[in-house]
Each structure stands twice: as C-alpha cells, then as structure tokens.
Amino acid sequence: MTYLTKPRLHHPTLEKNKVGYTRRDYEGKISTLCAGCGHDSISAAIIQACWELDIQPHRVAKLSGIGCSSKTPDYFLGASHGFNTVHGRMPSVLTGANLANRDLLYLGVSGDGDSASIGLGQFAHAMRRGVRMAYIVENNGVYGLTKGQFSATADQGSKSKKGVVNSDSPVDLVAMALQLGATYVARGFSGNKAQLVPLIKGAISHGGAAFIDVISPCVAFNNHPGSTKSYDYVREHNESVSRIDFISARDEITLDAAPGEVADVRQHDGTLLRLRSLHEGYDATDRHAALNFMQAHQARGEVVTGLLYVDPLATDLHTALNTSATALNALDATRLCPGAAALDRLNASLR
C-alpha cells in the first residue's frame, strides 16, 4: 500500500461523463492492500465501468463480506453507501437491501474464502433467487489477511507458498452459478482490464443475478510457481471465449466486424453486449453449452475467461415477488397500515 494521500483537487481538464462526473469522482479511499494486488486492478476496473456507464455514484450500494477483497469497496465509489457485513454473508444482506429499495444498483464484492468457503450457501441461494446485482468474487485461491491458508477455490495439486500441496477438490463458483440459475456468468482476470471493464459494465446493466469470478493473484501469498492463481499461470493458460464490447443503449451501433464473427446480445435495458467470438460456434446464450465448454477446457488446465453465459431477458427476485414499482422503503403509513376500521372488522371475525 502507499501512504501518499491523493490530491483532493481534480485537474480542471479531466474528462467528464454524461452525468458530469470525472473518473476521480468514482474513486474511494487509498487502498490498504499490498502493492501489485490483483484486487486493486479490479477496483480500478469498477471505477472505469461506473464512469463509462454514467452512473451517479450515490445510486450504487456496495456490499461486501470479510477479507482482503471485502475491504475494497472502501477504495472505490467514495460517494456511495457501503456495507462491510459479516464473513460469507454479504449475499443475504444485499438481498435484504435490494428488497428494501429496488431503485439502486447493487454491487456485491466478495472473495474466494468469503463466497466459496464460509459463504458457499449464501452465494448459492442468492444465485437461485435471482437477486439483481453484480456479484464480483475476487478469486486468489488463498486467505490473505490470515496469511496464506488455502481457500476452497485452490486447485487440487496446487502448491502453497510454504510448499504444502492442496489435496482437496476446488469449488468452481462459475460452474455453480451456471447450475444454480445465475443469468449472467463471466470469468475475468485482474490482469486483463480491457476484458474486465466491459464484463463489469454488462453485469451492472444486467436485469438479474450477474456473477463474475475474477482471478486476482495474491502477490503476497499465491504468486509463486506451483500456484494456479499466479499472474504467470493465468496469463499462460488464459483461454478467452470472446472479446466483448459493451455498447450503451444511447450509443449508435456501427458494425465493424465481418458477419459471423460477432454475436450481439441486447439486454432488457437496451444495452448491447457485442461478443467477438474467439471460438467458433460459441453461443453465450446457451447455459449447458457454456458449462460443457468451460469444464472441457478446465480439464486441460486452461482458465476460460470472458462472458460465458447471459440470458438477455432475465428477470429478478422483485419480479418473482411482484413487489411494487415504488421502492418498499419509500412507502408511507397510509399504504402500509390498514387502519382502525379494518382492525375492528378483523376483531369481529375473531369472536
């Protein structure tokens, strides 16, 4: 981490987005993570994505669990409300927050220990329920704050910094998200910002449960030979399914690729995900094919990245519960309390 404080004044020529904010307006406090930590790159990608999406920072609620990854919401979107909840339980808190106010955007930040170990249940059930959110797991396969223990996403046979070989099978959150009904599933790499930013933009614009597993090397405890979550390993084994461009509903669409190479997926809010296929015939709207493709490549030791699956017409928990368009936290007593006359009638029925 650095001790240098950020200058409070912004350069007057900094570019502003359509809602009048500069990139700097999306920053948060100075990171306290290690220099070179993948998580900081993800924070930078979130900042870039929100700026490019013209989101007003205060319309985002950012929630996290406990751990290195879960500290990061303090380091971006300083004008947003944040909530560092308890270990592994961000999904339930986010679910409740989302039910209370459907008008905000929800960003859930978690880690592999937080989501795949202690919080595996909450992760799974949030996916099942289709809570509208961008759920980002900053996956480094290791516990950082407690100094280097394996997490549940560590690959079988991978080696810890102390030389211990992991004998347990890994939890694959992407495969689980696909199985459990997430309607936007992607894997990114903190070292590939060009890919990560549009993935995050697509997730934030998505109408249901969006999940991104971001391989994010831990420079302190899991960046050595023998690790499958190191910068070198992921760079060498990265297999991207497509290149992705995120096109907002307002931007004019100009086709600059040969037909057949590009698949356009338009989401419910009009935004367009333009996928340039790097694998012939890869269909990102086919859940089962995505699962097969990913697992086949994984068996060869490859890390498949990119937008793996999207249901462009996804709905969410509010749709399932038929909640009012007015946010529940904005309803007043006249709409919530049935009143004395109704109570008198009810009393009469109980005699």
Binding site: G78, S92, V93, G121, R335
Partner: protein
C-alpha cells in the same frame, strides 16, 4: 363415589392421535363454550410429528376468567389407545372418563374412583359412513355432539359455528350438522346426562377476541409497517411468517396495480434470514424475522453486527424448550439471557415481553418503531404457550393518528442545509446518532457501514478513545431505551406488604390467579409485570420497596433473576427464584404452592 360438581369451572382434556382431524373438532368445542359467554382457555399439547404420535387438547372452562393452565383434569376424552393408561391416571378423583367403547376393555384398564362413560363411536360411524376418511373425521364431531349433551352445551351455538365455518359449502355444513346430531341423539338415548360438570350461559366474554399470539404478532408487523420479512421454518414460530403472508395478501396489495407492498423470503437458514433483515433495515425498510431458540443461536453474529453498526432489526422469538433441539413443541422462557446478551463482545439488546396475543400485536408494532428509533435489534419474546394457542384477549386496537416512528434519518434537504453528519456521533444527548439511507445525496452523507471500530464520523479506527466513545454512547443509548420501551405494570396488594413478585410474559394469567389464591390464604404480594428489558427505573424502585421479591419464570436457571441481579446490582438474597421448566405452561397451583411454602418456611425459622 365422589363426583366432581362444577358449573363453568372445570378442565377437560382430549387425548387424540396426531393427524386424525381432532384439532378442528376440539377447537369447535372450545369456541362453542366461549360463544355461550363463558371464558375458555385451550392449550394444544402436541408432538414434533405430523401423523401418528399422541396429541392433547386441554380446555379450561373458567367463568372467573382464569386463563392460565390450572393443573389437574376433571374430564378426559380418551381417544388414543397409545396413551390410555397415562390419560386415565391423570384424572382427578371423582372425574369423568369418556371413551370409545366399540372394543371392550378389561376392567383393570379403568379406575374405581372415576365415572366412566363409554360410547361406541367407531361402531356408530362405521354404520353411517362408508368412506374411511369420513369415518375418522366425523368421529370427532360425533363426540362433540355427545359432549354437548353431557355438558349442556347449546347445540344451536355449534350449528351457528358450522354455518360460519362452512359458509357457501352447503354439503359440508349438512354433513357436519348430521354428525353432531348423531352424537347428540345417542347421548340423549343411552348416556346419563348431564354430568356433574356443566356449562351454563353467562356473559363473561364481552368484547374479547379469540386468537393465537403468532397471528397477532404477524398482524402487529403489518400494522407496524414491516415491508420485508425473511424467515426460516422453525416450530413454534413458523405461523408468524405464514400469518404475515396471509394478512399482507389481504391488506398490502395495491388495488390499482395488483403489486405487493411487501416482500417475504423464506431463506435458506436463519443466518440468511437475519442477514436479509439487516440489509433491509440498513436500507430503510422495516423488516423482521420470526424464529425460535436454535434460530437465535445461528443469528447471533449478525445480531452483534446490528448492535454495533446500529441497524434496526426486529426479531420475534417464539420461545420453546431448550437447550439444543430441546423440547421443540413445548414452552419455556429460556432464551432471555441468550437474547439479552446475544453475540460476542459487550452487547445488550432490547427485549419486549408480551403477556398475550393482544400484546403480541402491540409489542410487534412497537418493536418496529423502537428498532428504527434506537437503531438496534429489538426482540419480541413471546413463547409457544402464547404463540400457538388461541387465547381469549382484549381486542386489537389502533389509533389512526399514530405515525410510524422512523427515528433519526437525515434527509437530503438537511444535508444541503449544511447539517453536520457524524454517523456515530451523539448530537442530541440521548446516545442515538443520526443515519442516512443509501442513495440520499450525490455528495453528502454517504458512509461506510462496518462491524469494525470506527470514529464518530464512521471512519475506520482502532484508536482506544474512539472505541470507548462509541461503546459508552451505546450504553447511553441503552439507558434511553429504558424510557421508551413498554413500562412495567404494577398490581398492588390490598394493603402494605414486604413481599413482592416479579413476572412476565406467558406467566401472566397463572400469576393473576395465584395472586387471588394467595390473597385468600392471607399472603399479600405487590406484583410487577415486566414488559421490557432494559429495566426502567421503576423496577429497581419496586425491588427496593420490598424485603423479598419472588421472581417467577419458566426456565431452570432463573434467567430473569440473573438479569435483574446483573443489571440492577441488587442483592441476590433479596430475590427468590420461582422456576417452572418441565415444558408445560406454568400453573397457578404451582406458583401458589411455591410462594406459600417459602413464606411458611420463613415464618417457622426464627
């Protein structure tokens, strides 16, 4: 032979097999007596089972209005061969045994000192009905018919109840009336009626309603403005969430759009339930969960977070017998300490103690207000006895001018006006800080909520002074809570007395009866019914004003006693523990005996 003679004052117990359809017939029996203007107090005694195990329904008929469990059985309707011996043994001498005499039983299965009334219920039903399910179900109505003759319950009242229950279902109505008269006709012809115990029309019910506490608590949450409910099924609390669903469907659907002004999630466990409630409370919606002891254990980490991060949370704890899975279908008041101090570190939580369904309604609505006002978890500490039994109680009341107290929420206008916002700063002297809701203002009022230490402006801090400022402010807030919670209710003795008694929750009806009995026996007691923790100043004053104070509660360890000693620094010697904890509701007989024997022991020892 001795014969129990009593009008409008007896206890009748139905011994049934779970899943045999007896519950609705037994409820019909209780309601019919109530409709004759005679108070009744029924209790379900049921197993953790869906079908096959024994279940009982105990109805106390009490013109005097003593709604606690009395103890002792005057009449047994013995419909379950599995429990026959114990059921027969439980009868008071001179009592009445009603049974299905289709299959003859050997003489040694009976007692010499009870009156036996045999009726071939199975034979009667088999003769009339061909469908096996009907034979079973109508057997229950047939015995209600016979009992109506034996106890002089007006048949018109029962028919009227059928009419209400089967409105629009004429076929069901007719067949139930037929079964009723099948029983009545047989009883009139073959049985000696009436018995020494009888029902006589009175006017002692008045405006009171007949409802269970879980339904009432759910209704309180509707009236109190709860919009988010997250829960996990657990006996005996599940019917809170189910009743909330039912009332929301009735009262909370926008007539214009058909959309719901509520969201209910059956979560994957209690941890997720409380997590959702915390998230919703943080984001400005009124939210609650309903659970029981094991659920509270699971929720504990989140409860600590809500206490420390100051988030409104309402928890309805319908207590059952603990520890562990304990007695899931029996009642206790044994989660008091677990809730008062839930979570690691120094924590204290607000507890409310409703005495009956009316207060379940009031306290649930009040809990939502208090949670918002105090920005902290608030428990409604009901129990199985109140929650799952229908109880005669005062009608629900609501003042339409009553606002929802949303507490200290700073608005965008206030922030724009330059008001200083320190999320954890005591600016009003009551220990309660101001909060902002997510999304309030583009540049002002945002903060990071966390379970770690922070300074009064919500910035991460591990500095000792910041920590101490914060946790001492929380204590100040807790002192403020003592002035806002429902205050204790004093029932003074007829004259001056050095003896006092403290009680709370479902002990209330048994206590009222015990106080009358003790007064008759010459033991005068001032009685204070606690309605909340933290204890208001009047609790300490009450203890100080008496030489000895009995603390009556339904757990083994005297948890309320411990809480009083711990929080008020009173001498433990001044408080006398009276504890009932076998899983059945406490009785007046138990309390009377415990207090009387203590008083006598003191009188005989110099």
């Amino acid at each position: 032979m001795n014969r129990i003679e009593a009008v409008n004052d007896f206890v009748i117990k139905f011994a049934n097999v779970n899943g045999s359809g007896s519950a609705s017939a037994n409820e019909l029996f209780a309601k019919a007596i109530m409709r004759m203007g005679v108070p009744v107090s029924p209790r379900n005694i049921f197993p953790s089972n869906i079908q096959g195990l024994p279940t009982w329904y105990e109805v106390r008929v009490t013109e005097q209005g003593y709604l606690g469990r009395r103890g002792g059985i005057d009449m047994m309707v013995a419909m379950n061969p599995q429990t026959w011996d114990a059921d027969v043994a439980e009868l008071e001498s001179g009592g009445y045994l009603f049974y299905d005499s289709t299959r003859p039983l050997p003489k040694e299965k009976f007692r010499d000192d009870i009156h036996v009334i045999g009726m071939p219920l199975t034979e009667i039903c088999n003769a009339v009905y061909t469908d096996p399910r009907q034979r079973q179900l109508f057997k229950n109505i047939v015995y209600v018919g016979a009992l109506s003759v034996l106890l002089e319950i007006e048949p018109e009242v029962i028919e009227k109840l059928f009419g209400e229950q089967y409105k629009g279902k004429e076929k069901l109505l007719a067949s139930n009336v037929q079964a009723l008269h099948l029983g009545r006709d047989f009883a009139k012809e073959h049985l000696q009626a009436p018995l020494g115990i009888r029902v006589r029309r009175a006017d002692k019910v008045g405006e009171r309603i007949f409802v269970d506490g879980n339904t009432a608590a759910a209704l309180g949450c509707v009236y109190g403005g709860a919009t988010v409910a997250a829960w996990y099924p657990i006996t005996p609390s599940s019917s809170v969430a189910e009743a909330f669903q039912k009332y929301c469907a009735k009262y909370r659907v926008d007539p214009a759009t058909g959309q719901n002004h509520y969201a209910i999630v059956q979560a994957e466990d209690e941890i997720a339930s409380i997590g959702m409630v915390v998230g919703a409370g943080w984001n400005g919606a009124r939210a609650f969960t309903a659970t029981s002891g094991p659920g509270v254990s699971l929720m504990t980490e989140f409860i600590g977070l809500a206490y420390f991060a100051e988030i409104p949370v309402t928890i309805i704890n319908v207590q059952r017998g603990g520890p562990s899975t304990g007695m899931p279908t029996r009642t206790q008041q044994a989660d008091i300490l677990a809730c008062a101090y839930a979570s690691h570190g120094d924590t204290k939580h607000v507890l409310l103690f409703p005495q009956d369904p009316t207060e379940c309604f009031e306290h649930s609505a009040a809990a939502l207000d208090l949670a918002d006002r105090l920005q902290t978890p608030v428990f409604v500490m009901t129990d199985l006895d109140i929650g799952m039994n229908q109880r005669l109680c005062e009608p629900f009341a609501w003042d339409d001018s009553r606002p929802l107290d949303r507490g200290k929420v700073m608005t965008a206008a206030e922030l724009d006006a330059g008001r200083d916002f320190g999320r954890y700063k005591d600016v009003d002297g009551d220990g309660i800080p101001w909060r902002t809701l997510p999304g309030t203002h583009p540049t002002k009022g945002s903060y990071f909520t966390r379970g770690t230490t922070r300074n009064s402006y919500a910035q991460y801090s591990e500095r000792g002074p910041d920590y101490i400022y914060n946790v001492e402010r929380l204590l100040k807030k807790f002192a403020t809570a003592a002035t806002l919670v429902p205050q204790p209710v004093l029932r003074p003795a007829a004259g001056r007395t050095p003896l006092g008694v403290i009680y709370f929750g479902s002990t209330s009806p048994a206590m009222a009866e015990a106080l009358d009995a003790l007064a008759l026996a010459g033991v005068q007691l001032d009685a204070l019914r606690l309605r909340a923790f933290p204890f208001p100043a009047s609790v300490r004053e009450f203890i100080d004003a008496h030489e000895r104070v009995f603390v009556v509660e339904q757990n083994r360890d005297g948890q309320m006693h411990s809480l009083l000693v711990n929080e008020l620094d009173v001498s433990p010697a001044q408080l006398v523990r009276v504890r009932h904890f076998d899983g059945t509701p406490i009785t007046a007989r138990f309390i009377t005996q415990a207090i009387q024997s203590h008083v006598q022991a003191r009188e005989t020892t110099p």
